[in-house]
Symmetry: C2
Subunit: 149 residues, 2 copies
């Protein structure tokens, strides 16, 4: 699937029906992924044109893994695939919102937890620290990935 | 507020209580902003250390505006401030999730709509196009910003 070049016309970009995703200088756009069931934020990832194209064509979320420098079918090792229920884009078309159903262990984070956002930021005495929200791994990450993490 | 340098120890980064936000090469991290009321995704923005510090100190969301190249107190013109209910970070601490209450017109998008994500991506005949979800401006953007957009 090819994506047209974004229009220089702001009105066309913001109000038009043409999907012209704006990939940044690194060829990536940001994808926000929430659970279609209850809206829980599961992860923030990145897509290049190939990942977005595969996602639209197959209905299964694909990303660009920046750490591994390769196309990444989410769940390819763990079985925790994401079936796309809906995709939205924002006003300037440089971010996507995927509402998904998670297969397998109902887990998205590589730590085994349901969501990557398992820690709240708390401020106390002028300093910020983190507090785990109580969520624990839903599968054996060592057995699945071959090593911790 | 100063933020310590991220630890090279993955376990400390992912399981520890130390908040060490990882700002990218451009000095920014991604902030996902949802409505604390119902989980609606309102916007995706960016923060540098100063914006994050101000947000934590005041409880009102501040960002770094990439288009304007300056610190941005969201709502400074429109009155649509965001009161932070909760902040979370993800496993590798390079993204934040802000759950907020929106003041003013209950609108976040500069087009006047409640959310920036007012269009769904639809695939038909192998091509993707956009469909507005029916949401309309909640305030007069021309009168507020001095010009359209």
């Amino acid at each position: 699937m090819d994506f047209p070049t974004p229009s220089p016309d702001k009105k066309e970009l913001e109000e038009g029906g043409l999907f012209t995703p704006h990939f940044g200088q690194n060829g990536l756009l940001t994808a926000v992924v929430t659970d279609a069931r209850d809206g829980m934020l599961l992860m923030v990832a990145h897509m290049n044109a190939a990942a977005l194209s595969l996602t639209l064509e197959t209905g299964i979320a694909h990303y660009w893994s920046r750490s591994r420098g390769r196309l990444w079918k989410k769940g390819e090792v763990s079985g925790n695939f994401q079936r796309v229920v809906e995709i939205r884009t924002d006003c300037d078309q440089d971010a996507l919102w995927l509402r998904v159903e998670v297969a397998g262990h109902d887990a998205t984070c590589h730590t085994g937890r349901r969501s990557c956002f398992y820690r709240t930021v708390e401020v106390k005495g002028g300093k910020a620290h983190l507090k785990v929200d109580g969520s624990v791994p839903k599968f054996d990450t060592k057995a699945t990935y071959g090593r911790s993490g």
